[in-house]
């Protein structure tokens, strides 16, 4: 039974050490090479550097010559409805559009406007577009909106129908949908409002200025008045909280500060004012 030993038995121990070291070296080099390969992200990114040429060069480029100019044909007239539909189709599905917002109901405004309908006093045939202080009527109206860029008509109020607002494109906007006018300039706010990051749901107090001052009055015993966090959203219009002509919130008197537990003297107020870092930074910065 003792024939010649198999080859692998005849190799001395040193030999196996060399083989093992070689194997580990190969494996190690293989691993290092694997990490050296570009990552998937790098592979996906095209050689974009070539394509992103600075746009400056293009401006100097003259328009393509030798192209026959087409005869200027009169474009077909679009009805307002067709225009609206075309706009909606153009902007559908572009990012987070207002159409993606969960449906909600807007609390109507017209029934809470004291001076509506405006045709009680206004005659749509006579329009006074002059910019002047309003001394005969609308005397309590404080106008602090727009920074001097606009006046009543065709900025927000319609000339052709005083009972309606008007958009930048000249389309009429109902008073109950006044957010469509505000959202033209305050588009980010309108988007927040549609999705819930701005504004309030209708609830116990639907006008911010009506919220009572004392704690006892803030107790709502008629639970039907309280708003819900679920079910269909009923949101307040922009003008439900903001005065359209002077929209920024005015400072209010805050409720009383908290008290310490009875029987304990309150701590004497120490208004510790720490200087800002640029005020107490004493290191001279030498400019080279």
């Amino acid at each position: 039974m003792s024939g010649p030993k198999a080859l692998w038995l005849r190799v001395p121990r040193r030999g196996w050490l060399v083989v093992g070291a070689l194997a580990m070296a190969i494996v190690g080099v293989g691993i290092a090479l694997r990490f050296d390969r570009p990552s998937a992200a790098e592979e996906a990114r095209p050689a974009a550097a070539d394509e992103a040429k600075p746009a400056v060069a293009d401006e100097a480029e003259p328009p393509a010559p030798d192209e026959p100019k087409p005869a200027a044909a009169a474009p077909k007239r679009q009805t307002p409805a067709e225009a609206d539909a075309a706009l909606e189709a153009l902007f559908k599905g572009r990012g987070r559009s207002l159409a993606d917002a969960p449906k909600f109901v807007v609390l109507p405004r017209k029934d809470s406007l004291a001076k509506y309908p405006c045709t009680k006093c206004h005659d749509n045939s006579f329009v006074d577009r002059r910019v002047r202080p309003l001394v005969e009527e609308h005397r309590d109206l404080v106008f602090e909106h727009g920074g001097g860029r606009f006046w009543c008509y065709e900025s927000c109020h319609s000339e052709r129908n005083i009972d309606s607002l008007v958009s930048l494109r000249g389309r009429p906007v109902d008073y109950d949908e006044s957010y469509k006018v505000c959202g033209q300039c305050h588009s980010q706010r309108e988007k927040d409002w549609h999705f819930g990051g701005h504004g309030k749901r209708a609830g116990a107090w639907n006008v911010a200025s009506d919220i009572p001052l004392t704690a006892a009055e803030l107790l709502v015993t008629e639970r039907e008045r309280i708003g819900t966090w679920r079910d269909e959203r009923t949101r307040l219009n922009c003008t439900g909280c903001h005065d359209a002509h002077s929209p920024s919130f005015k400072p209010m008197k805050p409720s009383a500060p908290p008290s310490v537990r009875p029987g304990i003297a309150p701590a004497s107020p120490t208004r510790h004012v720490e200087p800002k870092v640029w005020e107490h930074n004493r290191i001279e910065r030498k400019v080279r």
């Binding site: 310490v260 537990r261 029987g263 304990i264 701590a267 004497s268 120490t270």
Partner: protein
Amino acid sequence: MTATLARFVLGGSGLLFRGGRLYWSWIAVLWVAILVGGAFYARQVTEGLIVTGMTDQVSWGAYIANFTYLVGVAAAAVMLVIPAYVFHRDDIKHVVLIGEGAAVAAVIMAMLFVVVDLGRPDRLWHMIPLLGRFNFPSSLLAWDVFVLNGYLLLNLAIPFYILFAHYRGREPRERTYFPWVLVSIAWAISIHTVTAFLFSANAGRPFWHTAVLGPRFLASAFASGPALILLSLQVIERVTPFRVRSAVIDFLALVVTVALQINLFLVGVEMFTEFYAATEENHAATYLYFGLHGAWRLVPWIWTAIALNVVAVTVLTIHPLRRRRWLLNGACALAIVGVWIEKGMGLIIPGFVPTPLGEILEYAPTSGELFVSLGIWAVGALVFTLLTKVAIAVELGQLRDPGAAGGVREGTRS
């Protein structure tokens, strides 16, 4: 057996009513303090905790401060148990029962301080497992209740077994009690570690949320507890025929010395970590040591405590000074008071100032709190007195089973 047990209990109880003028005047003083404290506690139970100085901002005060300190004193009995039973030092074995009596008194005081701190002590049964709901092992307070009760049982059972054996004129069987002694050694470390975890578990309170709190607790416990035992042993020597070998006093003095050195080192470590990179996490430590935005009430307390500890450790470290008994006693007294301030008010209150929302409201205990605290300390002193009275009588051979061979000897005045 039960007859002997009954005789032991009755004989021991009867012994408690035999004493001289000094004994009875001491008991009377204690009872006055207890009853006054009880009256103030009754007022607290009626009106609520509003009679204390605690607020939502500082919701733990003098009661929990005393509780923390006393758990440390209770743990310190282990410093006598280890040399007595593990290293078989007979001189310390002679006094170990006194140490365990002190531990029992301290644990009872600690538990009483927790009870008087509760807003609804009538609902204490809610903590009993199965009957109520015991939030173990999640709540550190549940852990604390568990380990304190276990420690109390251990420190009642083991000395009871040993004393009962001595009462019958026999030696207790080492095989019976030694495993439990080992358990009680580990348990003693655990009660104070769990109490430290009670505080360091609060991630929202950076003053306590430090790993060094456990070691600090143990170091200060082993500084103050043996100091108290040391002083009590000398008082016992003065008023009873019980003799304590001076080697025991020297050993305890050495324990106090080393523990106090370690404690001061840990305080220094804590101060460095808090103040080197002055982040806002150290605002509580700033309040404690230097005052914060005009709130300074704790500053004199903590520096007094540090001064007392430094003086004490200096006296104790210098060997010739430690050898003089009056200097030793003075240093121990300073250490007891210093550790009490540093671990009690100097640890609990800064954990609450400023609040997690940055508000600073200081705390001062009311007179009601002080009287209730004094009453509980008096309860502890009473328990200690009664337990040691019986233990000493048994150890001196004055209380013996009349049914046994030796018969009873008329006890001398103790």
